[in-house]
């Protein structure tokens, strides 16, 4: 099973992401804690694209795809922004004290920790971020 939503590069699209996910979760019987995790990774991935992928002021389409397979849920985010592989990001040091902890840098880390597999590829001048959660 597969559902796709096309989003604009605006932060307020998070509202549509949540209701899109809720619909899928209701139809497919995804448990609430898993839905919450998926909402988190969708937000982190999408927000990252909106904030950093574009240097122009134009509207861009961003595709969000959710697939339910036998024992896993797969989320793919596709954007036409500049090439960027988030899986390359250095992980934050989570053992630092509050004073030493830098602000930011947690979004990608949360995606990696929440999902079972995260991969990236560039195809047709688009970034594809694929995030898999076993269920």
């Amino acid at each position: 099973m597969k559902r796709t939503i096309t989003l604009s590069n605006r932060i307020d699209e998070l509202t549509r992401i949540s209701s899109f996910l809720k619909k899928c979760a209701d139809q497919w019987g995804i448990p609430a804690p898993v839905t919450l995790s998926l909402n988190l990774v969708m937000e982190e991935a999408f927000t990252n694209v909106v904030q950093y992928a574009y240097s122009d002021n134009h509207d861009h389409d961003i595709d969000l795809i959710i697939k339910k397979k036998d024992k896993e849920l797969e989320i793919t985010l596709i954007d036409d922004g500049k090439q960027y592989d988030p899986t390359d990001e250095k992980e934050p040091d989570i053992n630092l004290s509050a004073n030493d902890r830098p602000i930011g840098g947690l979004g990608i880390f949360l995606i990696k920790k929440t999902m079972d597999n995260v991969s990236y590829y560039r195809k047709d001048n688009k970034n594809h971020l694929v995030m898999v959660k076993k269920v």
Binding site: L14, E43, E44, A98, N99, R101, T114
Partner: protein, 104 residues
């Protein structure tokens, strides 16, 4: 709301990229008013992303810089998970209920 020495702030709903800005402004406004002991009551916090975590960290840094105390209580298990994953559980004083959080 004042509970013993603590100014208690009740956080409701979602703190995501859309709402984190308002949340930060509110917290900074309270801290700017000279509050040195703050309790963030998260009983009704249902969702948090990195944008929200960022505000918690900013608040903690600001309070520590003035020698104050920030405490967090009543995190739902799914929110506590996110604090654990992020390493935030070791940089905040987290309590299970309001009573314990304000006991000294």
């Amino acid at each position: 709301m004042q509970i013993k020495d603590y100014t208690s702030v009740i956080i409701k709903g979602r703190i995501d990229s859309m709402t984190a800005g308002d949340f930060e402004n509110k917290i900074m406004e309270i801290l700017g008013g000279g509050v040195t002991k703050m309790l963030l009551d998260c009983s009704d916090l249902t969702y948090i992303s990195s944008s929200g975590l960022r505000v918690f960290l900013v608040a903690q840094k600001k309070i520590l810089a003035t020698g104050g105390t920030l405490r967090i209580c009543c995190l739902k298990p799914e929110i506590k998970d996110i604090f654990d994953i992020s390493g935030f559980s070791i940089i905040f004083s987290i309590f299970s209920d309001v009573e314990k959080a304000t006991s000294d």
